[in-house]
């Protein structure tokens, strides 16, 4: 999965400090202070979008904390260290790879609504 400068610029609407990173040979997008869907605790966390297939998912959204949301809780199934930080991801399968990063994040966040 590749992305463009336009993709990163679009993400800066969500996180002005959005930045590109590399974990080994895999590009990732780091999203400091991403606002989560209403009702989530905490309401704002750092996030990392892993754009490539991993653990059976076509992409993954990692958060800096496990988040509590209203209603049924997400199935947190990954604790991992990337770019010298600990991250957590819940089970959420986008079932597709042809999305731009902004669309991936919007779709991943549906798992916290």
């Amino acid at each position: 999965m590749s992305y463009s400068a336009e993709d990163v610029a679009e993400l800066k609407m969500l996180c002005p400090e959005a930045a590109e990173g590399m974990e080994g040979s895999t590009p990732v997008l780091v999203l400091p202070s991403l606002v989560l869907p209403a009702g989530c605790v905490p309401p704002v966390v750092d996030a990392l979008l892993w754009l490539a297939a991993r653990d059976g998912y076509p992409s993954r959204l990692y958060l800096s904390q496990r988040v509590v949301k209203p209603g049924a809780q997400p199935n947190w199934n990954s604790d991992i260290r990337i770019l010298e930080r600990n991250w957590h991801a819940y089970s959420w399968n986008l079932n597709r790879t042809n999305l731009r990063p902004m669309q991936m994040i919007a779709e991943h966040l549906r798992g916290l609504q």
């Binding site: 609407m13 869907p37 986008l94 597709r96 902004m102």
Partner: protein, 231 residues
């Protein structure tokens, strides 16, 4: 005179000439007598004269270069009545065109307002200089308009109520007001099956299908599928 360079992002300006009171489109600013003759169907027994509102108007020699920026108004006479090809120092007539109507002036420096007045354009119209590209230039009332930068203009309806929204990174001009999610999807070419979200103060805000959005300008929307699930 060389061709005037267009503003950044624009192609060359469109040109025309007026000959015996007939408006004829020109392919570019720098043409030749042969092009004028051919496009205006001037018979070989007539000579083309550049109109400088003078008894000593200048005849254009056969196949001579013609720079329309030095005057785009011409008339024809029988060869036996043609004036000498000596230069005439009087200012040439300059023809501007707006919405295919033509007005002649003697000064090449105008403003948006003076063209509105010259052509008696109704208030509320927006004046555009016509370029050989889709990106024409809107001319404000106070803006200086140089004939040499292109004499062809057109107007469009009032745009004061139009604002810009962005859907999936593509800007769209719409009238301010209330829009249903279905309307916004139609404007953005978003399939009805996709979810439409609005970015509000940096937050992805899902829009219910029944929602109405008050568009004031600057709104940003994104679409995405909604078939992801826990696995």
């Amino acid at each position: 005179m060389s061709s005037v360079q267009p503003p950044s992002g624009h192609s060359l300006a469109k040109w025309f000439f007026l000959i015996d009171d007939v408006r004829v489109p020109a392919p570019r600013q720098q043409i030749s007598e042969a092009i004028v003759r051919a496009q205006a169907s001037v018979p070989a027994d007539r000579v083309i004269i550049r109109d400088q509102n003078s008894p000593s108007d200048q005849a254009i020699g056969d196949h001579a270069p013609v720079d329309l920026a030095q005057g785009n108004v011409f008339y024809t006479v029988e060869r036996c009545d043609a004036p000498p090809a000596a230069p005439c120092n009087l200012p040439p007539k300059l023809a501007f065109s707006v919405d295919d109507k033509v007005e002649e002036v003697l000064t090449g420096t105008q403003t948006g307002q003076s063209l509105f007045d010259l052509f008696a354009l109704p208030a509320g119209r927006t004046l555009f200089r016509d370029y050989e590209s889709p990106n024409d230039h809107a001319v404000s009332l106070t803006e200086s308009v140089q004939f040499a930068e292109g004499p062809v203009f057109y107007t469009r309806g009032a745009t004061v109520d139009e604002v810009e929204i962005t859907i999936d990174r593509t800007p769209h001009k719409v009238k301010a007001g209330n829009y249903s999610v279905a309307d916004l999807k139609r404007i953005g070419g978003v399939p009805a099956t996709l979810q439409l979200d609005q970015i509000v103060n940096g937050v992805i805000t899902p829009l219910p299908e029944t929602a109405t959005v008050c568009v004031e300008g600057g709104e940003v929307f994104i679409s995405h599928p909604r078939d992801a699930c826990s696995s």
